[in-house]
Amino acid sequence: MNTAVQPESEASLIEDLKRGDSTAYRRAVREYSPGMLAVARFYLDHSSAEEIVQDCWVTVIDAVQKFEGRSGLKTWLHRIVANRCKNRLRTAKREVATDFSETLEPELANRFNSTGRWDLPPKLQFHDSADTLMENGALSDCLDKHLSTLPETQRSALMLYEAHQHKSDDVCNILDVSASNLRVLLHRARQKIFLMVETFQETGEC
């Protein structure tokens, strides 16, 4: 399901924002805040992240007047959030702790024998298309639950890349991670989702 604002309607949305149209702001807040929150959660705890996103929207009212559309509106908003978060971390002299040393989830790594072959190969094939799988409410709830337990760094990378369809370069720029570290974050997060769906399909349990 793709509900993203299309380029031509994005241009008219930007014009409406520049005019200070409150309906346009309501629409934009609903469209872009989830992604902005995902960016902020990469850097900050939940309540600070919400605070930053609120502050950013207030900043946007003036800043959008100078927005020239060199990047998409979504990327621009995500960069504003990332910069604010980085400034706040700089002030607090804190850094985001991340572990990029292992590319395999331990639960998956244990399924190979010492020669590097599968000991416990995947048994079931996920036959259904993503849309069909998502029609299963229990699986959708289970996915929500697992996404909420992912480390913030993995979840933010996953949300920006998969759900908000940013390009790798944009995600690296917004989250301030190298391309190779982004690959590790994405791969670790995908493995966790793979393990979750596998358990769900085999046992029906989350």
Binding site: S22, R30, S33, P34, Q54, R117, P121, V197
Partner: protein, 86 residues
């Protein structure tokens, strides 16, 4: 020779087309011979598609309402400033 574990380590790079030509070829060769890895790659790709299909993150309505209020307040301050300067 690429082993199943090696393939599992670079599986996302393969799915996203981030491998170089030589690595890509060795993954393809391995997949031709290994049914388990074909299942794994297929399932990992399905997991990735599942995430794209899943909502792009929901924000709770209360949070959105608080933003609306802050924005409305800031818009009205801006409007007053503009009419003062006219």
């Amino acid at each position: 020779m690429l082993m199943c574990r090696d393939l599992a380590e670079i599986a996302s790079d393969y799915i996203d087309g981030e491998l170089n030509g030589r690595q890509n070829l060795s993954v393809k060769m391995h997949l031709m011979m290994c049914k388990d890895c074909r299942t794994f790659i297929g399932n990992l790709r399905a997991s990735s598609n599942l995430l794209s299909a899943h909502s792009s993150g929901k924000a709770d309505e209360e949070f959105l309402r608080r933003i609306d209020e802050r924005v409305a307040e800031a818009l009205s301050v801006r409007k007053n400033k503009c009419s003062d300067s006219e």
